[in-house]
Point group: C2
Chain length 263, copies 2
């Protein structure tokens, strides 16, 4: 199968335009599974919770997810992407995984970063892993990368590919940590980061790009530039992520000794 990342520069608040551009970028390259950035259609830097609320959508029946499902059908692909979700009055930093037949999985960011704590409710759903036929796909969002428990949980639940929409602003961290997440869990990781700047508040945010796809052995298969809008995909064999052996004696998950771990 092919997995790909879409690196793009959303225009804040221009939801339809951003969706159009994402779909146009996807159309230039073939992939079976696409990962788009966190909050790819709205932009990131909400001034207030009310602003996020005004741009938030329900996952079921909302514009963004509906357009993603249309695109999934058009390209016969699965698409993971981030959006602000509204549900029963709460606004979440969410991600969906959609395919030609509709929604297949959803996630709400469990580890909120920085001002997000003032904007979003913390995730209240489990880290999801879903079998899309081609692979078992798990989802986490951006800052979840910093907590090894996130990718570990997805791996224990059987994820072969971790789809990781991101809006990274801390230099190098996620590119480094996600390589280790792939290696320590024996999974493929696909981090789709955005590029560009937002300075809608006193604080200027620079998004670092360098979207990357990493193999279970920690090999960097795809690494995009810090600035370019671009989609790239690579052929992977998800079964590589089912074999957790490092050698004839060691198994990444089987060698764990939870009785000795603090949780």
């Amino acid at each position: 199968m092919k997995v790909g990342v879409v690196q793009m520069r959303p225009i804040f608040g221009a939801v339809e335009e951003n969706i159009d551009r994402a779909i146009s970028i996807i159309g230039q390259v073939s992939s079976d599974l696409w990962v788009l950035p966190e909050l790819f259609a709205t932009g990131y830097q909400f001034r207030l919770a009310a602003e996020a609320r005004s741009l938030a959508e329900p996952v079921l029946g909302g514009l963004t997810v509906s357009r993603l499902i249309e695109a999934a059908r058009k390209f016969d692909a699965f698409i993971c992407a981030g959006l602000p979700e509204i549900d029963r009055g709460r606004v979440y930093n969410a991600a969906v995984l959609v395919g030609p037949d509709g929604l297949v999985a959803r996630y709400r960011k469990i580890h909120l970063f920085y001002h997000e704590k003032e904007i979003f409710s913390p995730g209240d759903l489990p880290f999801p892993v879903v079998d899309i036929g081609l692979a078992k796909v798990g989802m986490m969002i951006c800052f979840d990368h910093f907590f090894p428990e996130a990718a570990r949980t997805l791996a224990i639940r059987g994820a072969q590919v971790i789809a990781h929409p991101a809006n990274l602003v801390m230099p190098i961290y996620a590119q480094l940590t996600m390589r280790v997440r792939a290696l320590e869990n024996g999974v493929f990781t696909a981090t789709a980061n955005r590029v560009g700047e937002e300075s809608r508040t006193d604080e200027a945010l620079h998004f670092t790009g360098e979207s990357q796809i990493v193999s279970p052995s920690g090999e960097i298969l795809v690494s995009l530039s810090p600035t370019e809008e671009r989609a790239e995909s690579v052929v992977i064999d998800p079964l590589e992520a089912s074999n957790k052996a490092l050698n004839a004696y060691n198994d990444r998950l089987g060698d764990r000794r939870p009785g000795f771990y603090e949780t």
Copy 2:
């Protein structure tokens, strides 16, 4: 305080000579806490369990630990080092932390690597953290680096500095993962790796050197060469590792959400 790593090339089986050389290398540089490699005095590649047993020592009263305590007294320093430990008939891949007043902490490798599973009993003691006055020091050995739960457990138990004796043979892995362990846990890590080759069986082992000390922000403070015998120390402030804040909103340990984690 100063923390330092000793990178050396033990001669297999030449225990007293290896201890002498370690102490001589330490004597060239000043440090308050030294980390020596895993199995620094015996060498690594035991042909059979019986061979490890014949070189194993008790921690209390054994030659290696006694010599390390003498050296700690001489240099007014704490020393962490690896040795094969025999206790009640079992042989462990162990590490000790000694100071001028004697033994302060002990550890038995929890995640055994490769043929070690045929040579050693798996560790049966908790990951240790001990306050040496200058800092709270945790210990883990070599392959423990691959399991994020090890360093996480030490950090939750209050470690400010993780002493990490190693005999690394897998390229780059630990240098990469330990940088992430330091960053994700907000601790200092000191990995003392050995250099040289051993080919006492059909399998030639090449030990990768590149011992390193990393700060809680992931900065590489010390990085030795892949081949040289050498000690190097650096001034650190252990209190940096007590502040787990990444920014005004995020805390490396406080933001964990264990209810969502698989263990």
